[in-house]
C-alpha cells in the first residue's frame, strides 16, 4: 500500500484501464498517418504498397491549396483582432470593479454555451441580409466572436495570479496607466496572452460549422473543404491533409508542454 492508500492490485487494474483509454484516445489520431502513405485508392490496412501520390495530389490541387491558405489567412486575422480585444476586456473586467462584473464575465463565455449550430444559422441569416456571406471580413468577424472566450478566460486567469501592486508601484513612480500596463503588467501576463492567442488561432483554423454556412466556393476554408470531401466522396487525399494537420497539432501540443515545463524550471 502506498501513501495514496491504493492497494497494488487495484492500482494494476487502474493502470491497465487508464492505458487502454489513452490507447483509445491516441491511436485513432495516428492511424491516418500510415493510410496517407498508402498507394491504393481503396482503403486497406495495413497498406500493401507505399507512395507519396496523395501528397503530390494535394500539392497539385488548386482547391486544397486555396482552402489551406484561406484558413491560414482567416486564422491569423482572427488572432490579430481577438487577442487585443479579449485582453482589453479581461483587463477591464478585472480592474473595473463593475457591479455587473459577474454577469459580464458569464456573457463573455456565451459563445461557448450557445449551441454552435444555432450561432451558425443566426450569423448566416444576418450575413445574408448584410451581404457578408462568403466574405473574408464576415469570416474573420464570426471567428473572432467564437475565439473571444478563449482569450478572455486565459488572460483573466493570468491576471488573477498577477500582483496588481506592481502596476500600482509603476504608476506611483511616474508611469501613466497605459505605460505602466505596457512596461510592467503585459510582460508578466505574456504567457496567458500568448496561449489565448494560440487558442484563438486554433479555434478559427479548425472551425467547421459556422464555416459550413458562411464560407463556400472560393472563400472555402480548409475545414469547409474537408467537410465537402467527407460528405461527397472520400478520397485518400483527405488522409494526406489529415496527416499534415495531425503533425501540426502534435507539434503544437509538444511545444506548449515544453514551454510550460521550462517556465516551471526557469
Amino acid at each position: 500500500m502506498t501513501e495514496d492508500h491504493v492497494p497494488a492490485r487495484a492500482r494494476l487494474w487502474l493502470f491497465v484501464l487508464g492505458g487502454l483509454v489513452i490507447f483509445f484516445l491516441v491511436v485513432p489520431v495516428l492511424i491516418v498517418i500510415p493510410i496517407s502513405f498508402s498507394d491504393s485508392t481503396l482503403l486497406e490496412f495495413p497498406p500493401r504498397t507505399y507512395s507519396l501520390r496523395w501528397y503530390r495530389a494535394l500539392l497539385e490541387s488548386l482547391e486544397w491549396r486555396d482552402a489551406a491558405w484561406m484558413s491560414v489567412k482567416v486564422a491569423v486575422l482572427t488572432t490579430i483582432v481577438a487577442t487585443p480585444v479579449g485582453t482589453a476586456a479581461a483587463y477591464g473586467l478585472h480592474v473595473g470593479g463593475f457591479r455587473l462584473a459577474g454577469v459580464l464575465r458569464l456573457l463573455v463565455l456565451a459563445p461557448l454555451l450557445v449551441p454552435v449550430i444555432l450561432t451558425a444559422i443566426g450569423i448566416f441569416y444576418l450575413y445574408a441580409l448584410l451581404g457578408l456571406n462568403n466574405t473574408l471580413a464576415g469570416l474573420v468577424l464570426a471567428h473572432t466572436m467564437l475565439a473571444l472566450p478563449f482569450v478572455v478566460l486565459s488572460v483573466a486567469a493570468g491576471l488573477r495570479s498577477y500582483d496588481m501592486a506592481q502596476e500600482r508601484v509603476a504608476r506611483s513612480l511616474g508611469a501613466h496607466w497605459f505605460r505602466a500596463f505596457r512596461s510592467v503588467t503585459l510582460p508578466q501576463i505574456r504567457l496567458p496572452v500568448l496561449s489565448g492567442a494560440l487558442l484563438a488561432f486554433i479555434a478559427s483554423f479548425d472551425e467547421v460549422i459556422v464555416a459550413f454556412f458562411i464560407s463556400g466556393g472560393e472563400m472555402a476554408t480548409l475545414p469547409r473543404k474537408m467537410f465537402s470531401a467527407l460528405r461527397d466522396q472520400i478520397e485518400p487525399t483527405i488522409a494526406a491533409i489529415s496527416t499534415i494537420l495531425v503533425v501540426l497539432s502534435v507539434t503544437t501540443v509538444a511545444v506548449v508542454e515544453l514551454t510550460r515545463q521550462q517556465k516551471r524550471q526557469g
Binding site: 501592486a165 508601484v169 504608476r171 511616474g174 501613466h176 508578466q188
Partner: protein, 367 residues
C-alpha cells in the same frame, strides 16, 4: 560615505530642499455602510517622520492609499506644500511608495528596477547609472545591481524597493508596513537603518504599521488611528506617558487597567484611596497600570500601595512577568527587570506588596 557621492538633496541632517509638508483636511471614505475614514485632519511638517499606528481595519492603510492616489476618498483635501493633490492621478504626485509586498518587477534586474522612475523622467545614460548606483549604495546594496529579483533575500528586496522609491528624490515617502515580512532581528536592524536614512535624506515620511515598538523607534510623531479616526497624534514620549484615551493607553505599552472613580476630588479604586500626580475632575476613569511601572515591595508609608497574591511568574530572559490577584479579584501584570543576578522571584501563592509611584499614576477616561 563621502559627501560627493550623495545625492544633492541630502545635505547634512534632514535639510532636504525637496521635502514637502502635507496638509490633510476632512478626508472621508466609506465602503457601503462601513466607514473607513471618518473625517481625518492632519498636518505633517516638512521632513517629519510620521507614523500611522493602528490595528488592522483601523483605516491607516486606506489613508496611505488615498495619499498615494490609488484610492479615491469620498471627500477631502490633500495638499503637498501649497498644491492641492486630491484629484491628481498617482503618476503625477511625485511620491515614493514602498509596498508591503515590495512589488519589485521580476522581469527586470535590480538596477533596472531602480532606474525605472528615472527613465520615466527622462534621465538617461551616465547620469542615470550614477544616480542608480548612489541610491543602491545608500541602502547598502552597491554591488548587487546586476542581480535578478528572485535571487535576493527578503531584506535585500526591501532595500531595493526603498532605493527605487528614493532614487528620484521625491518630496514625500510613503511606506506601508514595509518591514512586516522580515524576521525580528532583521526588522530591528532595518529600523535603525531607516532612521539613519531618514536623517540623511530629510524627506517627509508617512509610515504605516501596527507594531507599536516599531512606531516608537522610528517616528518624530505618531498618529494613533482607530475606526477611521485619529485618536491622538503626538511624540512617542508624550503618547506613551500621556495617552489621551483608553484606546491609546491600551494599544501602546503593556498595561492592565483598573476602574477608578473620582468623587469630591478624591480618587478611589474600590475603597482604597489613590494618589495620582494630579486629581482629575469627578467622573469614571481607568487606571493605566504599565507593567514596568508597578513595583514589588514598599510599605504602608508609601502612597499607592496594595497587597496581592501571585498567580504566576514567567521568566522571559531579560525580565520576569508576574501576574497577581488583588483583593476583590482583579488581575494585574507587572514586569521586573532581571538584574544583579537576582534569582529569588516570588512564585505562585506568595503574598506580595505592590507600589505605584504617583508620577506614574496614569488615568484615562472610561471609554
Amino acid at each position: 560615505m563621502a559627501d560627493e557621492n550623495s545625492p544633492p538633496s541630502s545635505r547634512g541632517r534632514g535639510e532636504a530642499s525637496s521635502a514637502l509638508p502635507i496638509t490633510i483636511r476632512g478626508l472621508v471614505r466609506h465602503y457601503g455602510r462601513m466607514v473607513a475614514l471618518d473625517g481625518i485632519d492632519l498636518d505633517v511638517a516638512k521632513g517629519e517622520f510620521l507614523t500611522l499606528l493602528g490595528p488592522s481595519g483601523s483605516g491607516k492603510t486606506t489613508l496611505l492609499m488615498i495619499l498615494a492616489g490609488f484610492t479615491r476618498p469620498d471627500a477631502g483635501s490633500i495638499r503637498f506644500g501649497d498644491v492641492e493633490m486630491v484629484r491628481t492621478p498617482p503618476h503625477k504626485r511625485n511620491l515614493g511608495v514602498v509596498f508591503q509586498s515590495y512589488a519589485l518587477f521580476p522581469h527586470m534586474d535590480v538596477a533596472a528596477n531602480v532606474a525605472f522612475p528615472l527613465a520615466l523622467r527622462g534621465v538617461n545614460g551616465a547620469e542615470r547609472t550614477r544616480r542608480v548606483q548612489t541610491a543602491l549604495q545608500l541602502v547598502q546594496l552597491g554591488d548587487l545591481g546586476g542581480r535578478r529579483v528572485d535571487q535576493l533575500s527578503g531584506g535585500q528586496r526591501q532595500r531595493v524597493a526603498l532605493a527605487r522609491a528614493i532614487v528620484f528624490e521625491p518630496g514625500i515617502l510613503l511606506m506601508d508596513e514595509p518591514l512586516s515580512a522580515l524576521d525580528k532581528k532583521l526588522r530591528e536592524q532595518m529600523q535603525i537603518e531607516l532612521r539613519h536614512l531618514h536623517r540623511r535624506l530629510g524627506t517627509t515620511v508617512i509610515y504605516v504599521t501596527h507594531d507599536q515598538r516599531e512606531a516608537l523607534t522610528l517616528s518624530d510623531r505618531i498618529a494613533v488611528i482607530n475606526q477611521g479616526r485619529v485618536q491622538q497624534i503626538d511624540t512617542p514620549q508624550r503618547l506613551y506617558e500621556a495617552p489621551a484615551n483608553h484606546f491609546v493607553a491600551d494599544f501602546i505599552g503593556d498595561s492592565t487597567f483598573l476602574p477608578v472613580t473620582v468623587a469630591n476630588g478624591v480618587a478611589r479604586w474600590r475603597d482604597q484611596v489613590l494618589t495620582p500626580a494630579a486629581v482629575p475632575r469627578d467622573g469614571a476613569y481607568q487606571l493605566v497600570l504599565r507593567s514596568e511601572k508597578l513595583m514589588l515591595g514598599g510599605d504602608s508609608r508609601h502612597p499607592n500601595t496594595i497587597d496581592a497574591e501571585v498567580i504566576e511568574t514567567v521568566y522571559q530572559g531579560d525580565s520576569v512577568r508576574i501576574d497577581v490577584r488583588l483583593a476583590g479579584g482583579d488581575v494585574v501584570t507587572l514586569r521586573e527587570l532581571a538584574r544583579g543576578g537576582q534569582a529569588a522571584w516570588p512564585s505562585a501563592g506568595d503574598r506580595v506588596r505592590l507600589t505605584l509611584d504617583p508620577a506614574d499614576t496614569l488615568l484615562v477616561p472610561t471609554p
